[in-house]
Amino acid sequence: MPETRLLFKHIDVPGIDGIEVYERAGGYRSLRKAVREMSPDDVVREVMTSNLRGRGGAGFPTGRKWSFLPKDGRTRYLVCNGDESEPGTCKDQEIIYRHPHLLIEGVLTSAYAIGAEQAFIYLRGEFKGGYLTLRRAIAEARAKGYLGDDVLGSGRRIDIRLYLGAGAYICGEETAQLESLEGRRGMPRLKPPFPATAGLYGMPTVVNNVETLAAVVPIVEMGGQEYAKLGTKESAGTKLFSVSGNVRRPGNYEVELGKVTMGELLHDLAGGPPEGRRFKAVIPGGSSVPFLPPDKFDTPLDYESLRAAGTMLGSGGVIVLDDQASIVDASLRLMEFYRHESCGKCTPCREGTMWLEQALGRIVSGEGRQGDLKTIEGLIAHIDGQTFCPLGDAAIAALGSALRLFRGEFEERIATPQRQLAEVAQ
């Protein structure tokens, strides 16, 4: 099962991070086509027709998101979400570090489409190297007239400002990101109003993920209709999947949505489990979605099929656990993450993740009590759908499914006294 490369078509070309090589590979043709031959509304229509859905995790139709901007003459902003922090996800990192001009072209073309003169690229603070790469690439693009006060002689101004976050998972949530971009603690805002009507500095704003904006480049190049022929009717195009954990060839793989199954991704592309091991389960969409067990590895990789299989496509971060990995340990590791990253704004998330971490910590260290699983399930019920932003639901998705699919592992760990666990560890 081969990859279908649109975004990664040229990523292995030596020097593609430089503008000359990028141009020779056809780079900035989409921006030129958009600015010279299409009206902004034409570009929006192509993106609508393409059925592109947000690649950050939520899968919301990109063209629809753009169409929510009110036509009231106010300043509009485009924010590119490069905060990639979802555990298991490293696709945007590869675009930013290795293919910066693809992202810049996507941002400029999209800013043109939505009528934004100023775009921002918000990078997580740990992407310092990517920040320097993008800064150099933006300078190259500016020297060639692709951005600045007069984009390609059109008389239009489009500029990009880079912004480096400082370490906080929640800043990937779009309203928290806007708070951070405005120099505050990254705590989510109440919605509505949505960013489309009151976003950055209170102005109409679109926030799109790195991969989403990069996908606008091939969409403009090939046309929305051609793009929509890839993938399935509801899950169009290609998607980057980051495969990590217990596999032989971890990596980012670009495949047509719905045309490749989880099993094919894991075996044909990622090389199967390590020698002598078997797969136990995967978390297919970044750590915030339910586990998918091996008996469902024939599920095609698209939004609808994965949902029908009880999980979600999410960000496409596929974390693989083999039969040597402990679901109980993994559950604790994930809960420590969510407890650390909870912004503290709402009680169910702030307190709930802390109590869940404590209960799981007891079980892992051999001090689990009968009744702990009931306690955990009670806490899950009090978080589920009860939190201010999606982080709460994200924190319990994998754990809830782990209790359903691998309950025996938890019970066994609770039944094993501390003394025996210590002996096993020896």
Binding site: T75, E84, S85, E86, P87, G88, T89, C90, D92, Q93, Q118, R124, G125, E126, F127, K128, G129, R161, Y163, L164, G165, A166, G167, A168, Y169, S180, L181, E182, G183, R184, R185, G186, L200, Y201, S242, V243, S244, G245, N246, P250, G251, N252, I283, S287, G317, I319, V320, L321, A325, D329, A330, R333, L334, F337, H340, E341, C343
Partner: protein, 160 residues
């Protein structure tokens, strides 16, 4: 802040459509210069931004890359994301603690190294991942980190 950073900080005040956006970039300048955010700088940044020191502290305490205590010349951050956890991140962290004689978050007595365990660094395909002063070390091994420590020590000794 040194003169260069101060000039940059002042230019940041007008670089965004809203002045408030300058705060985090300015705090990055301070962290880069001192390896942490000293109290005098909190006051200085507050003065520059026209906000209270409490406000600056409220913002910086939200973000893990801003430190309130001095960090080593080399800030070693071991990713403990699930993918790295599955590929030996715990062993890597233990190795560093033993090699450097520090605990989690600690700094060596000579002020050279700080070791932290951090959440997912978004390079899961190359797990286990470490960042040294925010530069990636993909597929990190004990041997490589041991060499890096030895080389960094020599480098510093040469310039001493």
């Amino acid at each position: 802040m040194n003169q260069e950073h101060l000039a940059e900080a002042k230019s940041l005040l007008t670089a965004f459509p809203g002045k408030s956006s300058a705060l985090i970039p300015i705090l990055h300048l301070v962290e880069d210069e001192f390896g942490y955010i000293p109290q005098e700088e909190v006051d200085a940044v507050a003065g520059l931004m026209g906000v209270t020191a409490a406000y600056v502290e409220a913002v910086l305490s939200f973000y893990t890359l801003f430190h309130r205590q001095p960090t080593g010349k080399y800030l070693i951050q071991v990713c403990r994301g699930l993918s790295c956890h599955l590929r030996g991140a715990d062993r890597l962290a233990r190795f560093l603690y033993e090699e450097l004689g520090v605990q989690r978050g600690g700094t060596t007595d000579d002020g050279l190294f700080t070791v932290e365990e951090v959440e997912c660094l978004a390079l899961c395909k190359d797990a286990p991942v470490v960042q040294v002063n925010l530069e990636y070390r993909p597929r990190a091994t004990q041997e490589e980190l041991g060499r890096l420590i030895a080389e960094s020590r020599q480098e510093v000794a040469r310039h001493a």
